[in-house]
Amino acid sequence: MNEAVAEAPPIELIGLNKWFGAFHVLKDIDLRVREGERIVVCGPSGSGKSTMIRCINQLETHQEGTIRIHGRSYGRDARENDAIRREIGMVFQSFNLFPHLTVLENCTFALTWVRHMPKQEAEDLAMSFLARVRIPEQAGKYPLQLSGGQQQRVAIARALCARPRIMLFDEPTSSLDPEMINEVLDTMVELAESGMTMVVVTHEMGFARKVADRVIFMDQGEIVEEAPPEAFFAAPRYDRTRLFLSQVL
């Protein structure tokens, strides 16, 4: 059993189906992410890509299919679900930092309240991650005093503090000013180089080319095609993919 868990892939989606009311958002999604693999998910808006990664940490619940994280699947047991979730860190398009807490408090929050770590230890750990995203000097400020790019880097540090084994990024650069996109992408590239398993929903094709092991294109709730970036950009198989690429590149 333990061996099976150790060998189990970080993320496995099998026959995933989801509806918002009567609307079928995700249709028969099958996806298997290997340890340390970097996946970039792209597609037009409304294609279900955000919904898919939000299902992975159960911010959205699905109606059919199985989601396994390191071999454990979500079920009725809320505690077990929370335990699975703690393996996963998430970065949002709108940062979602807690505005009433300082940058440091944002980072220590989960450590204090979920892992019950002593204060000093939590702060040391948080500072080391703030240093890694290169903003340790902002630790005492409140999120709204920072620029968008800095806020998103804090959000990455905050997610990393919980020591996740998987990181999900939901359009992390889409609400940033153009001048700040690169500082966030650089942080993500560094994270990718450290071997973190990552699923990134983004329109930054440069990032996909540079970092991704696999690029997934979604449309109308389905995975249309998936391929390594070289093949994906050089020779997309489907007309829908070609149309999309001609519009974003």
Partner: protein, 457 residues
């Protein structure tokens, strides 16, 4: 290579770039700075504006002059009845001796004169209990605040009511008293040594090195000793019974509105969460309660509780009239507060819940640590507005025969010595209400400024 940089950056073949130099910032024109500049810009910027300013100043002057002449200039300060006042200045000046003679009643109602110290003592205890909340070095603010809100009422109700006390009632009163002692002790130790009272005791006994479990037991024992002392003290106290129909004046107003305020916020939070609950039955019940109590005037609710409630209760069960009024006020205030809190909750973006649950926080942790602090901060002006409204609304209890501040003011003019003296007591009561409400409103502004530190860019 990555193509994340701008496409213009690598375009070659352009002439050498010119260097962009930003202009230095200049000082603002002198005529717009300082007090003179402000007055010129805001009060005398044009002829109509100057006319309006002067007219406004004249109205304020005329109004203040009339009031001050009546209240101070022509006022009578010494007289033994209203006739003497009228003989001296007629109606052109206020007759303050009437108000002065009634001040004890305006404040304490018909509470026995020799027992009034009990009310003063309770007020003093409340004040002393609240002081640590403003002291920066005290760290157990949350615990002290909670003990104040939850346990002071036990102590205060015995001080106010007095009378026989059975075993259970004694134990509860002692709990209130012990909490007060604990608040004092922990404030003292935290101010001097930075340790909470229980930690201090553990240290004083030289047991610091012992296990967490052992020091917790010692702390608990210390609290038990405090409780035992309080129980003995309470047993030794013997206060005479004072019926609630003798309560009145500012005292009664403060009791009713104080309990209403203390109950309405937590009850409102619970109701608001229940209304937003995904469980349909809970949501339906909360919604029904809130809408019912919001759709009925407070007077009607007071009447219902006062006259109809006894009809529904079994024979022999009698609920005190004051208690009925307090329950009615609390339910009404809770329903209003629930909607205020719900408004605050709606202003918090969904992403805050999502970020909290993505970190592995459960619903209650996310609500208590992330959502509520933000929602309540946004709602401070409205919440305090509700408190102020509640404080003033308690005047309505005069209708069901309770003698609150306003009814006591009316009673002055019915006293044979001061027959017809209505204006002065009302003026006095207006001042009391103004000071109390303005104080609350200023405190809320102050609180807002302190809490919004993070929002300043």
């Amino acid at each position: 290579m990555a193509n994340t940089s701008s496409p213009l950056a690598d375009s070659s073949g352009l002439p050498p770039a010119e260097i962009f130099k930003p202009k230095p910032a200049r000082a603002a024109p002198a005529s717009t700075l300082g007090i003179q500049g402000w007055i010129r810009q805001n009060m005398f910027s044009s002829i109509p504006s100057a006319v309006v300013t002067l007219l406004g100043l004249w109205i304020v002057y005329a109004f203040l002059d009339a009031i001050l002449t009546w209240a101070v200039g022509n006022a009578v300060w010494e007289a033994s009845n209203r006739r003497e006042c009228l003989d001296q200045v007629g109606r052109s000046g206020a007759c303050w001796p009437g108000v002065a003679a009634w001040i004890p009643n305006l404040i304490y109602g018909l509470y026995p004169k020799d027992q009034v110290w009990r009310i003063n003592l309770a007020a003093l205890v409340l004040l002393v209990w609240a002081v640590p909340l403003w002291l920066p070095r005290v760290r157990s603010k949350v615990q002290i605040g909670l003990s104040l809100v939850l346990l002071f009422p036990l102590l205060a109700s015995y001080l106010f009511l007095g009378g026989e006390k059975g075993a259970i009632w004694s134990a509860l009163i002692a709990l209130g008293f012990a909490a007060f002692l604990w608040a004092l002790l922990t404030t003292a130790t935290e101010m001097t040594t930075g340790l909470s009272f229980t930690r201090f005791v553990v240290g004083a006994l030289g047991a610091t090195g012992r296990s967490e479990e052992a020091s917790r037991r010692i702390g608990f024992a210390a609290l038990l000793v405090v409780y035992a002392v309080s129980l003995l003290a309470v047993q030794a106290m013997a206060l005479s019974f004072v019926q609630t129909r003798l309560w009145g004046g500012l005292f009664l107003t403060t009791v009713i509105s104080g309990i209403g305020i203390a109950v309405s916020l937590p009850a409102g939070i619970v109701l608001a969460l229940a209304r937003r609950s995904r469980m349909p039955l809970i949501s339906l019940l909360a919604t029904a309660f809130i809408e019912l109590f919001r759709s009925v005037p407070l007077i009607t609710i007071l009447f219902m509780f006062n006259t109809m409630l006894p009809l529904f209760l079994p024979v022999g069960v009698e609920v005190n009239q004051l208690l009925r009024a307090i329950v009615a006020v609390c339910l009404f205030a809770a329903a209003y507060m629930a909607e205020v809190v719900r408004g605050g909750l709606q202003a918090i973006p969904r992403g805050q819940y999502e970020a909290a649950s993505a970190m592995g926080l459960g619903f209650w942790q996310a609500t208590g640590l992330v959502i509520m602090p933000q929602a309540l901060k946004i709602m401070i002006p409205t919440i305090v507005g509700n408190f102020i409204g509640l404080f003033k609304d308690t005047t309505l209890v005069s209708i069901i025969g309770l003698f609150d501040l306003l009814s006591m003011a009316r009673a002055v003019g019915e006293d044979t010595r001061w027959l017809g003296l209505f204006l002065e007591p009302f003026f006095f009561v207006t001042m009391i209400y103004f000071v109390a409400c303005f104080g609350m409103s200023q405190y809320s502004l102050n609180l807002e400024q302190r809490l919004s530190a993070g929002e300043r860019r």
